[in-house]
Structures are given as structure tokens and as C-alpha cells.
């Protein structure tokens, strides 16, 4: 696909939808229905400036720290559990149980344990976003190719070198699939952790707007969240292309033949 075509595909539907929205909401007087131009103006006046520094950046910071630890811990623990059979057998049912707990219910608990602060919010993000990465890594390590594994053994590639050159790259496709889920879970938990007993952040501000009937502002907050999600997706794709180019190439070839 040519770059021009790709850009057209990327922006085509959004532009169409905005045009439709514009047409449908043109004569509307409903207070709760936002209009595109109004919303764009509100977006600008509400979020650029002080609020960006006070609310958006701290939220993004906590999200980044939370995701960093969720992904890092998920990979490290996943490699450890996946490559130790007794540990895996011991922990797997327990992990599935923890994964099944909806993370928002941990918010009150973590508030009691850690207090109402940044650490608590980061902990909420970690507690929810770690599972897809962790469980995918465990599953991936279990499924590494036996012939490759034998190759490593016969060439004396053991311990850390085995992890670095064989296991970690081999499970990267599963890890990335987990990371993709973790990103959206992290974003959700970022908002939720700020809705409880908080005085700043995106989640807090959006709830605040809604309570004060500042409906256009509330909508604009939702748009900001959407844009953050989009940003995460773009960064993810960029990284994934780089890290997994071999995987996509391999898949393309095996699908062809």
C-alpha cells in the first residue's frame, strides 16, 4: 500500500463519522448531545494549559509507571514460572484465580492497605495489567519448540544465555499479545483508580465535570481518553513491528506455501 492510500484508510472513516455526526447534530438543541465544532473548542480550552499539567500528565505518568512494572514483572515472573515445572504446576490454578478477580474491586482494598496516593493508583494498574502478560508468558515458555530447545542443549546454551537468546525471543509473540491487552486494561484502571477518593487526574476531572453538569467538558475528557488509547495503540504497533518483524515474515511465508 502506498503511504497516501494508507493515510486515506486511516483517516477515512473518522472523517466520515464526524461529518455524519455534524449533520445529525446540526439543529439539535439537546444539552447532552455534543456538537463537533463546540467539542473541539472545548477540548482545546479545557485541556490545553494548566489542566494538562495538573491532571493529564500525572495520569499519564502513573499509567506509564504502572504499565512498565506490570509488563516487566509479568515477563520476569512468567519466564521464571514457565521454565520451572513444579512452580508452574503449583501456581497456575492460583494465577487463574487472581486473573479472574475484576481489578476494580481491589481499589478499596488497596486504598486501605496503601492509602490514597500515587502508589495506590499505580498498584491498581499493576494488579490488573500484569495478568495477560504473565499468563501469556507462562504459556509461551511451556510451548517453546522442542527441536530448538534440543539445539540449545546440544550447543551448551544454558541458563541466562538460553533465556536471552532462545526463550525470550521465542515467547515475544505471546508477550506482545499480552501487552496489547494490558494496555487497554491499564488505561481503564488508570481512570477507575482516579474516580475513587482522588483530587486530580483525568478520571477525577471527568467525574467532576459530570457532577457539575459541565457536559461539553465531560465529553471532551472522554475524547482525551480516546486519544490516549490511540496513542498507546500507535506506540504499540511501532514497537511490535520492530520486535516481531521476523515473526510476521515467517507467518507470511508459511501462509503462502
Amino acid at each position: 500500500m502506498s503511504p497516501l492510500k494508507r493515510i486515506a484508510y486511516f483517516f477515512g472513516l473518522p472523517i466520515l463519522l464526524i461529518a455524519l455526526w455534524y449533520a445529525l447534530s446540526f439543529g439539535s438543541t439537546n444539552f447532552f448531545v455534543p456538537k463537533p465544532i463546540e467539542l473541539a473548542q472545548t477540548l482545546w480550552t479545557t485541556w490545553i494549559g494548566e489542566r494538562f499539567v495538573d491532571d493529564v500528565l500525572p495520569s499519564l505518568g502513573r499509567l506509564a509507571v504502572g504499565l512498565f512494572f506490570a509488563i516487566g514483572l509479568g515477563i520476569v515472573l512468567g519466564l521464571l514460572i514457565g521454565s520451572t515445572r513444579w512452580l508452574r504446576n503449583l501456581l497456575e490454578p492460583l494465577l487463574e484465580f487472581f486473573r479472574a478477580i475484576p481489578p476494580p474491586v481491589l481499589v478499596p482494598l488497596l486504598m486501605l492497605l496503601i492509602g490514597v496516593n500515587d502508589s495506590m493508583k499505580v498498584a491498581v494498574i499493576i494488579s490488573g495489567a500484569i495478568w495477560p502478560v504473565l499468563l501469556n508468558t507462562v504459556e509461551g515458555v511451556r510451548a517453546v519448540d522442542s527441536v530448538l530447545s534440543d539445539s540449545c542443549r546440544s550447543y551448551g546454551i544454558r541458563g541466562f544465555a538460553r533465556i536471552r537468546y532462545f526463550v525470550l525471543p521465542a515467547v515475544t509473540p505471546q508477550i506482545m499479545a499480552g501487552v496489547r491487552q494490558s494496555l487497554s486494561i491499564g488505561l481503564i484502571l488508570m481512570v477507575i483508580s482516579e474516580m475513587f477518593a482522588s483530587s486530580s487526574g483525568l478520571g477525577f476531572t471527568i467525574v467532576q465535570f459530570q457532577r457539575n453538569f459541565a457536559i461539553p467538558e465531560m465529553w471532551s475528557g472522554i475524547v482525551v481518553l480516546g486519544l490516549i488509547g490511540l496513542g498507546l495503540a500507535i506506540i504499540f504497533q511501532f514497537v511490535e513491528r520492530r520486535v516481531l518483524h521476523w515473526y510476521h515474515g515467517l507467518k507470511e511465508i508459511t501462509h503462502d506455501s
Binding site: L148, D150, S154, P169
Partner: protein, 292 residues
């Protein structure tokens, strides 16, 4: 420490003739797999030696335990009984001086590494200095005729080329013993012929001891200096045959030699006999006896 090291580096018994300790020695090897609901005896009793620098082919019918045997020899799997000795010392895990080329070339190279990185990895892991490593990798890639694709990824190459990468990796590693498990079973006939010649060339260049497993009779006779024929399961050595063909082999002329034909017919007959197995032989013997 230094004292014991120097004593260890000295020849162990200078008076002993060099041939006394075979490079590879398999004694009474047996492997029984435990499977749900019973046991499978893949290999019953295998005994043979490989002298240093020999090129030996191992033929046997499908399912005769060739892969099982190689896995035991290479220390990747524990045998049920019997011993494997490499240079006089017992094999209990994958030995440093051994390299294995697997049948599944598509699954034995790292798809996330370039051809070059694949060949280099075992050396890197052994902390071979960079310059030496580069020289070894270059030489190995050149010897298999792949010095033009070092930056490609394995999956961008054809099957025969991938297997050549796997061979280059083994060659660069400079093993004393090279084990190959039906390495050419999945490549086309022309590539296969080329690869067979490649193996003989490498063998002559490096003086490495090679145990080459195949189910192809012609291949075993063409390649080997010796052919060991395995019986079907439960597996024993059916025959150990010396291949007295000229050292310089050539796909056209060698295969047309009367001696080549004789040897391959002989191995073929042995394999047929092996397939029938000891039980059938007993029955035929009984029948003959009852006819009298």
C-alpha cells in the same frame, strides 16, 4: 590447581596406541520409553564403535529407533541401560565436543536471528573472541556455499539452504563428533546430491568423526566409509559393513560402479531381512523344518 592442570594436560598413557580408545563407543545401549499404559522398547541392545575421523552411516527402517539412538548418544536423553563413551569418558549430558544436525531444519534454526547470528551463537556462548568468531563463521558459511546470504533470515531461504545453515553452524563449532539425523530427508533430489557431496568435503577438510543417520540405502553407501544396518524394533545391530569404494566419490561415476551396486543390493537385502524381523525368520525356519 596449576599442578593438577599440567598433569591433566599431559598425554594420559603415552605408551598406549592411539587407536585403543575409540572416539565414540556405544555399549549395550537400550532405551525403553514409558508411555501411558505400558512401555515401548525402541532400542534393545546396540553395540558399536567409531574410530577417530570415521564417517559412518546408520541405516534402519522407519521406527527402528535411529532418532532415539542419536538422542542417547548426544546426551539429550537418558538411556535405560548401557553406556555411551566419548573419547573414553561417559556421556551423561550434551558433551561440549559434539554437534547435532537435526532432521527438522525448519525448527532447528532461530527464526529471529539472521543466518550469520545463527551460526555465530554457539561460539558467542563459548566466549570465543570476536575476531576469531568472525573468521570461523565466515569460513563455515563459505564451506557450505552460503557466504552471500549472511544477513538473510532462515525462513527466507529454501529448505536445502536452511539445512546448509544448520551444517555451517555445526562446522563453525568445530566439534570432534558430528551427529546427523536424516538431515536430507525433506529436500529435493538434486539438492540432496549436492548436500551429500558437501558432507564428504567437510569430512575430509575437518577430519571430524561423523555419524550419519539415514533411511536411504543409496545415500548410506555413497556417503559412508562404513554402514551400520539396524534391525527393526526391538533394535539391534543387524550388520556392520565396510564400504570399500574409492575415497574420491562422485555422484555419477561412483553410483555407476559395479561395487556400489553390489553394496547397495547387499544393504537392501539386509534391511528387508531386518524388516521381517527375528520372529518371521523363526517361522520360516520352522516351516522349512516341517517340510522335511
Amino acid at each position: 590447581m596449576t599442578v593438577s592442570e599440567t598433569t591433566m594436560n599431559q598425554p594420559v598413557q603415552p605408551l598406549q596406541p592411539i587407536q585403543a580408545v575409540p572416539m565414540l563407543s556405544v555399549r549395550g545401549l537400550q532405551k525403553i520409553y514409558k508411555v501411558p499404559g505400558g512401555e515401548v522398547e525402541a532400542v534393545r541392545d546396540l553395540t558399536f564403535d567409531l574410530a577417530e575421523g570415521e564417517l559412518v552411516c546408520l541405516v534402519g527402517p522407519s521406527g527402528s529407533g535411529k532418532t532415539t539412538l542419536l538422542k542417547c548418544i548426544s546426551g539429550l536423553m537418558e538411556q535405560t541401560s548401557g553406556t555411551v563413551e566419548l573419547n573414553g569418558s561417559k556421556v551423561t549430558g550434551p558433551p561440549k565436543s559434539m554437534a547435532v544436525v537435526f532432521q527438522e531444519y525448519g525448527r532447528s534454526l532461530f527464526p529471529w536471528m539472521t543466518v550469520r547470528a545463527n551460526v555465530e551463537l554457539p561460539l558467542k556462548n563459548q566466549k570465543v573472541p570476536k575476531a576469531e568468531r568472525a573468521a570461523l563463521v565466515d569460513a563455515a558459511l563459505k564451506s557450505v556455499g552460503l557466504d552471500h546470504v549472511p544477513k538473510s533470515y532462515p525462513w527466507q531461504l529454501s529448505g536445502g539452504m536452511q539445512q546448509r545453515v544448520a551444517i555451517a553452524r555445526a562446522v563453525a563449532y568445530r566439534p570432534q563428533v558430528l551427529l546427523m539425523d536424516e538431515p536430507f530427508a525433506a529436500v529435493d533430489a538434486q539438492t540432496r546430491a549436492d548436500l551429500e557431496d558437501l558432507i564428504r568435503t567437510i569430512w575430509k577438510q575437518l577430519g571430524v568423526t561423523i555419524l550419519f543417520v539415514t533411511h536411504d540405502i543409496d545415500e548410506s553407501v555413497y556417503l559412508g566409509e562404513r554402514v551400520i544396518v539396524l534391525s527393526s524394533s526391538p533394535t539391534v545391530v543387524q550388520e556392520d559393513l565396510k564400504i570399500d569404494l574409492p575415497a574420491e566419490r562422485d555422484q555419477l561415476n561412483t553410483r555407476a560402479l559395479p561395487r556400489f551396486m553390489e553394496l547397495r543390493s547387499h544393504v537392501y537385502a539386509e534391511i528387508q531381512r531386518a524388516k521381517l524381523g527375528p520372529v518371521t525368520e523363526q517361522i520360516t525356519a520352522q516351516r522349512k523344518a516341517s517340510l522335511k
